[in-house]
């Protein structure tokens, strides 16, 4: 990546928009002719549904964004970008419901590397424990069984297919309770 132009306050009058190159996903502060470093505040408290940087990753060549410009509050930016992310297929956001729980959650499956991570996160989210997965017998040791709906509309047991296939085909998760779950997958 090379820097094409250097911002110089003496050339303000003649400036059209300038090209800047930077690494994808980086944000650079530009100031009036002096170099300075700005520590960017962490946006980590924002929920996982907003990444805020996907545009710089998909545009080419990527243009570094000026901090705080245009002056749109990050709450607003994040809410609009949530929609963009979902429509562009960045990540795979699926709704998670649990039988008996009054509300849904939403998670991005691409944030997890494998099943154990996902299960741990679900357990934390809904305060339950899932028991142990056995290839032939499904989940044992708990009344709760994690299931998912795949692209064909079938309800499957979480863990039956390889992880990558699961991430790409899962449309929605449902943590079933009790007898309803017994008929699935490799259960008894």
């Amino acid at each position: 990546m090379e820097k094409v132009g250097v911002y110089d306050d003496e050339l303000v009058n003649l400036k059209a928009t300038e090209l800047r190159l930077g690494l994808p996903g980086t944000e650079e502060k530009v100031s009036c002719g002096k170099s300075n470093k700005r520590a960017l505040p962490n946006d980590t408290e924002k929920d996982i549904e907003s990444t805020g940087k996907t545009e710089t990753e998909t545009a080419s060549p990527p243009k570094a964004q000026i901090v705080g410009w245009p002056p749109v509050r990050s709450y607003r930016k994040n809410n609009i970008q949530t929609k963009k992310n979902e429509s562009e297929g960045q990540g795979n956001y699926v709704k998670v419901s649990m039988d008996g729980a009054p509300y849904l959650r939403k998670i991005d499956l691409t944030m997890y590397k494998q099943y154990p991570e996902l299960m741990k996160s679900l357990e934390n989210m809904f305060k339950f424990s899932v028991g142990e997965y056995f290839e032939r017998e499904g989940y044992k040791g708990s009344d709760f069984v994690p299931t998912y709906e795949d692209k064909d509309g079938d309800w499957m047991l979480v863990g039956d297919v390889p992880w990558e296939m699961f991430v790409s085909s899962c449309k929605r998760l449902r943590i079933m309770k009790g007898s309803e779950a017994k008929g699935l997958g490799c259960g008894v």
Binding site: V12, N42, R73
Partner: protein
């Protein structure tokens, strides 16, 4: 009907036009507390009649009975300066206090002067903090205020905070300390979560208003809706559209069902269309509705699809509509039955195309306040101009907020609005292309403008037809819009634009400047003109020490000055600080700016009655 001013307008304090004379009244306060004599200070311009004809206490009783009717704070400020007696009585009768900068005075000073406060409006961080121009944890903590007021004002009923840092502990203390508490409004605040909200919901039994607006609320996993007590509530307004946490819908439905006074309800993104439908059926008395996601959770079963239009038809009182966070466009026509009643419509989170938009707006003849994304395009704005003749406030936000984005709105939309909406008072317009001609047209067609904020997103963009700077356009605005109190400029601008502003901007209180001007002269024009200037925020503009010194005669009469990424030196800022002891001069930097010792990354200065604050983080230096 009432406008939702806390959400829909950021200029809620611009109604009072007088420059607050805090320092002078503070001087009276100091004098009064030290003086033992009851005769008026002869060096003040006092009417001498009180001690000659009537005893002091009789006159003060009369005064008290009169002054209690005075609501406007600038009237009260003026009354308090008449003489010591008036100062004292005014302080006893002021029940609502507005503090525009939480660091301008200490909480103790507030409670010492005003003894019977029922309502506090408090503002914290400067506005540019919204755009990540300030590191987090800068300050504006609510904690010292709530703990001081807990002891001084047990009868406190209302707290309205903007850009403050509020913790769950603060909310718990609030809920515990004020048994008659009625209204909590948190705008652009952060630091708390659903657990804090739950405590307020549970303990404030007289709660009428709980409005969380554009605030960052952490999801602590607490079911706060279920924390409202059983039985009929006093709730009139419940706004939680910014809370990014799922809610217990059954509990919400129950709450709405037992809140007969509820008029305003703003749902968050996690409430679906079907759930909205159920709520509407149970609450047809609503006047203001935030519709939540406006989309389905699951694939709808067509035989059972609820009649959304009928639910809206039943809401005869709805005049203010917002939400549409995940809008499924095919359901938008359901709102048609309420369109002709609407005075306020907020589509600014919905990506609506002109074709979807036009049939809706065509019915909104009474609309006064309209917020939307630029996805409605110039075509949509032309439709607004054709129908919404009563429009007073317009805000157009960018769907794609980047400098190099396409920009579906332009000077055409602005021109159309100026021709169709002659009563326009306030406009915020994001675009990529603009012309002086359109801005001039607006200045001529819309004489009622008090707020003009134009953001041409590409920096330094000239008039895209003539190639000239945008000086003449903004010049026309300040010349022709005689009521203008707030201005935000953008595009390619030379010192000439600032000359116009300084000369003609007689009523401007708030000025926002970014990437503009050629030299120090520009800022000089503004500081030596603009007699009513209170709030000045500047970024990335070539204004340096010479310009800064030009304002020393007036910084005490301003609420604050913000200058970031401008060529200021620490030496000059130190000089200003030394010359003006009641001015707090903060230099805000990042942690690693030792190498550029003289360079001032961000200057934020404000007057203060109580000296520098005691909660300064390490990246802030007070000179």
């Amino acid at each position: 009907m009432t406008q939702d001013r806390t959400e829909m307008s950021e200029d809620d304090d611009d109604n009072s036009q007088s420059p607050p004379l805090d320092l002078r009244s503070a001087a009276i306060a100091d004098h009064c507390s030290s003086s033992s004599s009851s005769t008026p200070n002869k060096s003040r311009n006092c009417m001498a009649l009180n001690s000659q004809t009537f005893p002091d206490h009789v006159l003060e009783n009369v005064l008290e009975n009169v002054l209690q009717f005075l609501d406007s704070r600038c009237d009260r400020n003026a009354a308090s300066l008449v003489c010591k007696s008036w100062w004292r009585v005014e302080a006893l009768t002021r029940s609502e206090v507005f503090i525009g900068n939480c660091y301008a005075l200490s909480p103790t000073r507030l409670t010492q002067r005003f003894k019977r406060v029922k309502s506090l409006l408090l503002k914290g961080k400067p506005r540019f903090a919204d755009f990540n121009l300030m590191p987090p944890d800068w300050g504006a903590n609510f904690a010292p205020w709530v703990s001081t007021m807990a002891k001084a004002y047990p009868w406190l009923e209302k707290v309205d905070l903007k850009r403050m840092f509020v913790t769950d502990d603060d909310l718990a203390l609030l809920a515990d300390s004020f048994p008659g508490f009625k209204e909590l409004i948190l705008v652009c605040c952060e630091g708390f979560g659903t657990s804090g909200i739950a405590i307020v919901a549970n303990k404030c039994r007289k709660l009428k208003v709980l409005d969380l607006i554009e605030s960052e609320v952490t999801d602590d996993g607490v079911d706060w809706i279920s924390c409202f007590p059983e039985g009929v509530t006093s709730l009139e307004s419940l706004a939680f559209d910014c809370v990014e946490a799922p809610i217990n819908f059954e509990a919400l439905e129950g709450l709405v069902g037992r809140s007969p006074f509820l008029k305003k309800l703003r749902l968050n993104r996690l409430v679906s269309l079907e759930e909205l439908h159920r709520l509407l059926l149970g609450a047809p008395q609503l006047t203001s509705l935030g519709t939540g996601s406006f989309s389905h959770d699951n694939a709808p079963q067509s035989e059972q699809e609820p009649d959304y239009a009928a639910a809206f038809r039943a809401c005869k009182s709805v005049v203010c509509l917002s939400g549409f966070r995940d809008l499924m466009p095919e359901y938008l026509p359901s709102i048609l039955p309420v369109c002709s009643n609407l005075t306020s419509l907020n589509f600014s989170y919905a990506n609506i195309s002109p074709d979807m938009f036009k049939p809706i707006i065509h019915n909104c003849h009474r609309l006064q306040v309209f917020w939307a994304l630029d996805s409605i395009c110039d075509e949509g704005l032309q439709a607004v101009a054709a129908t919404c003749k009563e429009l007073r406030e317009l805000r157009i936000f960018p769907f794609d907020p980047r400098e190099e984005s396409e920009g579906p709105v332009s000077e055409l939309g602005l021109q159309a609005i100026s021709e169709g909406c002659r009563n326009l008072e306030s406009i915020l317009y994001f675009c990529q292309r603009m012309t002086n001609a359109a801005v001039i047209a607006m200045s001529e067609n819309c004489p009622e403008l008090t707020v003009f904020r134009l953001c041409i997103m590409g920096r330094h963009r000239p008039d895209h037809v003539t190639g000239k700077p945008m000086d003449e356009g903004f010049g026309a605005i300040v010349k022709n819009c005689k009521k203008l109190t707030r201005l935000a400029i953008s595009g390619l601008l030379t010192d000439q634009a600032f000359r116009y502003m300084g000369e003609h901007g007689k009523l401007i209180r708030t000025l926002s400047v970014a990437f503009a001007g050629d030299s120090d002269m520009a800022l000089r024009h503004v500081l030596e003109g603009c007699p009513r200037l209170q709030k000045l925020e500047i970024r990335d503009s070539p204004f340096g020490d010479v310009a800064l010194r030009c304002g020393m005669h007036r910084y005490y009469n301003m609420r604050f000055v913000w200058m970031s990424a401008c060529p200021l030196s620490k030496g000059c800022c130190k000089d200003v600080a030394r010359a003006m002891p009641n001015l707090v001069v903060e230099v805000i930097g990042s942690d690693d700016d030792d190498d550029n010792r003289d360079y001032v990354e961000t200057l934020y200065m404000y007057r203060s009655l109580d000296g520098p604050r005691n909660d300064v983080p390490k990246f802030v230096t007070i000179l």
